[in-house]
């Protein structure tokens, strides 16, 4: 696709752009959903498109197209130039320089690319069977899916950046419903990998089923101040909210609760958080970001102390820093924006059983509900619904529902006193985290 990309860059510069960048992608993907041991839905996809960013008189314009015909390329150039004309001048809007080189990563698995639909369907069916067989109270598995993607990225800019890479990955997902005495509870689970052999269908199906069954018989509990254990799924939802506030973009625009806290203690001293765009198992790993800056490993919180923020080329210019290779793109329809790659939570690990065993009164939280509306990365306040299981005298007892967990994010992070030994990848956001033990949380119930 370099021919189309080079052609577009040439047209943009010929059209009067002082600087330009073309980002193109080409991908194929599969999604297979099974239900009652039959294929319910199979989606085969082929996708391509390119986005053009032009710089003119210190202003930026962006345009995209899925159509790469000659006339469509002329149109995308005309649009981008027109968009630059109406944008305001911004001295920090610059293109990155050509990098010395890009890290070599193994992101493409030939076995996955050669796997046929039959094997993928079998895997999804095995996940559903495992969920149904895990417990007699499993009523059905509403959604059992297998999905994979195989994509290539092409990037060039007028400063000599030129790069391309291909990556593929796959995952399975199960969402099980369990029923007891007319009450229905749900549980979900994921398994992620670079090929089918890395996906444990048994474990994935069984986990969804057991997570649903564990909540059967749940009820409201009295309001209390208690120790909370966030399991990896719920810990990942919290990390996702925090990460939005750890971008330089949020800081520079007054949208981050961490704005003035660089170098300060913002979390318990056992807690560390790193953005790692080079992690061998990370879904978001890549040799370079959405504007051609090499990806890297960036410590964000180390032993509880805030180390810094994530930067793209724009926010780095504005803040007098170096880009951390976090100018990412959701797709060719948008320009780069500061986002995390893979987020890794680390610190000294303790067996989860020991953690729970040491808690006199608390709640093991297995699901956070309403995080996108209930947690505010600007003010740091949050109030979310939770599902989970009460911990009494070191034992898991009654399941809990219709209660909320509230507080502010910094206090919660500061009160993280221990980490479990159960770190796992949660794909929404590509986060690797263990369970987190947080003291002194407010739970509102009856």
């Amino acid at each position: 696709m370099f021919d189309v990309v080079d052609k577009t860059l040439e047209l943009a510069l010929a059209g009067g752009a002082e600087g330009a960048e073309v980002y193109a992608e080409r991908s194929t993907s599969r999604r297979i959903r099974v239900y009652h041991q039959q294929v319910e839905e199979l989606v085969a996809a082929r996708r391509k498109g390119l986005g053009l960013r032009v710089f003119q008189h210190g202003a930026v314009g962006y345009a995209y197209t899925s159509d790469t015909s000659a006339e469509a390329l002329d149109e995308v150039v005309a649009r981008a130039l027109a968009h630059a004309k109406v944008s305001d001048h911004d001295e920090f809007a610059v293109l990155p320089e050509k990098a010395a080189g890009y890290p070599a990563l193994e992101l493409f698995d030939a076995d996955l690319a050669a796997t046929d639909d039959g094997a993928k369907i079998e895997l999804a069916l095995a996940v559903e069977r495992a969920a149904l067989e895990a417990d007699t109270r499993v009523k059905l598995v509403e959604d059992t899916s297998y999905a994979d993607g195989d994509g290539e990225v092409f990037l060039v800019n007028s400063k000599g950046v030129r790069g391309s890479f291909r990556a593929n990955d796959c995952y399975t997902f199960a969402y099980a419903l369990a029923e007891q005495n007319g009450q229905i509870e749900t549980g979900l689970s994921y398994a992620v990998g670079r090929n089918l052999a890395e996906l444990d269908a048994q474990a994935c199906g069984r986990e969804a089923a057991l997570r649903a069954c564990a909540l059967l018989g749940s009820r409201k509990v009295p309001s209390m101040k208690a120790t909370v254990v966030l399991d990896p799924y719920s810990a990942a939802s919290v990390i996702a909210v925090i990460s939005a506030a750890l971008t330089a973009d949020a800081v520079q625009r007054g949208r981050s609760l961490f704005a003035s806290l660089e170098g300060k203690q913002v979390a318990g001293e056992r807690f560390s958080l790193t953005d790692n765009g080079l992690h061998p198992n990370g879904f978001s790993s890549a040799p370079f970001d959405g504007e051609g800056v090499p990806c890297q490993r960036t410590p964000l919180i180390a032993a509880g102390v805030l180390q810094g923020f994530l930067y793209d080329t724009y926010t780095a210019a504005r803040g007098g820093r170096r880009s951390t290779g976090n100018g990412l793109r959701g797709s060719y329809t948008g320009g780069p924006a500061v986002r995390p790659t893979n987020l890794i939570v680390g610190g000294p690990a303790t067996p989860v059983a020991d953690l729970i065993g040491s808690i006199e009164r608390g709640v093991l939280v297995t699901n956070l509900i309403g995080v996108h509306s209930g947690a505010n990365p600007i003010s740091g306040e949050f109030s979310v619904g939770i599902n989970g299981i009460l911990i009494e005298s070191g034992r898991l007892t009654t399941p809990v529902r219709e209660v909320t967990l509230a507080g502010d994010i910094i206090t919660m992070l500061t009160n993280v006193v221990a980490l479990g030994d159960d770190a796992r990848w949660v794909p929404s956001g590509s986060i690797l985290t263990p369970s987190l033990v947080v003291e002194g949380m407010s739970i509102s119930g009856e």
Binding site: G335, G370, S383, G385
Partner: protein, 465 residues
């Protein structure tokens, strides 16, 4: 190339090709979309972006099974490859039947447009962003950041299926949003306002966007003086407009027929039974003139309609796409929607609302001795299987002795669908609809949520106070 260039013969051939090795329904969905987005932040117009996407999805069903392929190539080769991909999934069986395509149906008058946004200079749009920014910042010195956004999208769709339907539809949507951030002595609060419609540029002018800006700024500044919301069970009054998110989450998602078909909704098997207080009647209406959630046809070519879902507290209908309607022996209700050609259509709400009552909103507040007033919601989430939902409240107040008093922050409303609907005990007459984007199965679609001010006799408020 555009969707206008695709002829009937190519569509018919693609359908026949899709059904070559079996199946009971095939469909081609061609989409051509142009968009323009402008964004202002830090007093600068800085993200001006737009483009064109063209593609097609080919769908084949056989009983409960669906095969779908999509492509960016809407020429003969691309459509043939997509048809081949779906047909290959059903190898061996006899060819499925195809009805000849009938006359093309369209309904250009459904959502009239007076001023095509493409005819308006882009500078006029950026000036609206600046006007809203200045108004919000001028409202108070506590406003430290303002983001304003304008978006327009024009979507042409062409839908042909093996039942012989041939539908062409054009949708134009405009939206303006304002977010304001206020800060005072370490306290940060945000305010948000939006206006969206399936209409032309006539809906936007300087006065309108300034109103939105003042609303967002006012909300952020008011909330600076808020105190933490109390915890407990109390009467909750939901304001008109955004309050409709309550019905959307607490009930609407559970009425979507995919959840019903799997028994994964608390409303399964409840048609004709009492699911709400007798004063509650509710609708899903994809045909509201110029509504943000409206279009003339759904994304399967079925005309949109007004569907009564609750009549006087009794459940009267679910929301169907073609596939689930066929399986249930029901008529499709025009709720088969998709984010784009890259997605399979599924049952989705359009504009969903509880019908207004006849008391004034002031009467509802006055009748409440102590309670919580939710003026603006930040969003919500529901689990249709259990009916449990959670909302975040963006702007909330205490009600004391029949009057709205202190602003409250950090409140969450939590409950269970049918339980909450049966506790609605007052509905006012100040009906309004707000625009939003609803996510389900990874697909976002524009929806309207509406209601008049109403009261829920008892609801759990989770707060930090």
């Amino acid at each position: 190339m555009s969707s206008a260039d695709i002829d009937k013969d190519l569509l018919a051939a693609t359908l026949a090709f899709s059904l070559a090795s079996g199946g009971d329904f095939a469909e081609v969905y061609v989409e051509d979309r142009t968009s323009l987005n402008l964004r202002l932040e830090d007093n600068k117009v800085e993200q001006v972006s737009g483009g064109h996407e063209l593609g097609a999805g080919v769908r084949l069903t056989s009983g409960d099974r669906t095969y779908y392929a999509y492509t960016d190539d809407v020429g003969e080769a691309g459509l043939r490859e997509a048809a081949k991909a779906v047909a290959a999934a059903l190898r061996g069986a006899a060819a499925g039947g195809v009805q000849p395509l009938g006359g093309e149906r369209r309904n250009p008058g459904a959502h009239p447009v007076r001023i095509a946004p493409e005819s308006v200079a882009i500078e006029v749009k950026s000036d609206l962003l600046r006007a809203a920014n200045e108004a919000a910042r001028g409202h108070s010195s506590s406003i430290v950041q303002v983001t304003t956004g304008y978006s327009e999208g024009r979507q042409h769709v062409l839908i042909a299926n093996s039942l012989g339907d041939l539908v062409r539809d054009e949708r134009l949507r405009l939206r303006f949003v304002v977010q304001a951030i206020a800060r005072r002595e370490g306290v940060i609060q945000t305010g948000f306002e939006t206006l969206g419609a399936s209409a032309g540029f006539e809906i936007l002018d300087e006065a309108t966007v300034i109103d939105l800006a003042l609303g967002a700024a006012g909300q952020a500044v008011t909330m600076l003086d808020s105190r933490p919301a109390p915890v407990g069970v109390m009467p909750v009054v939901m304001a008109n407009g955004f309050g409709g998110t309550l019905f959307h989450e607490a009930c609407g998602h559970g009425l979507e027929a995919d959840a019903i078909a799997k028994g994964a909704s608390i409303y399964t098997g409840k048609l004709g039974t009492v699911v709400a207080a007798p004063i509650v009647s509710a609708y899903d209406d994809g045909s509201v003139a110029n509504g943000w959630g409206s279009q003339a046809f759904d994304d399967e070519g079925v005309p949109t309609q007004k569907t009564m879902v609750i009549k006087d507290g009794r459940l009267t209908s679910y929301l169907y796409d073609r596939l689930r309607a066929r399986a249930a022996g029901a008529q499709p209700t025009g709720n088969g929607r998709r984010q784009s050609f890259r997605y399979v259509p599924i049952p989705r709400m359009t504009t969903t609302y509880i019908a207004p009552g006849d008391v004034s909103p002031d009467d509802v507040i006055a009748a409440t001795k102590r309670g919580f007033y939710a003026k603006s919601l930040a969003g919500g989430q529901v689990e249709p299987a259990s009916g449990n939902f959670v909302f975040g409240v963006a702007e909330g107040y205490l009600i004391e002795n029949g009057r709205i008093t202190a602003p409250l922050r950090g409140a969450t409303l939590i409950g269970n669908g049918i339980d909450i609907l049966t506790r609605i005990d007052m509905i006012a007459n100040d009906f309004d609809i707000k625009s939003g984007v609803c996510g389900k199965d990874g697909q976002g679609v524009p929806v309207g949520t509406g209601q008049a001010t109403l009261r829920i006799g008892e609801m759990t408020v989770g707060g930090t106070g």
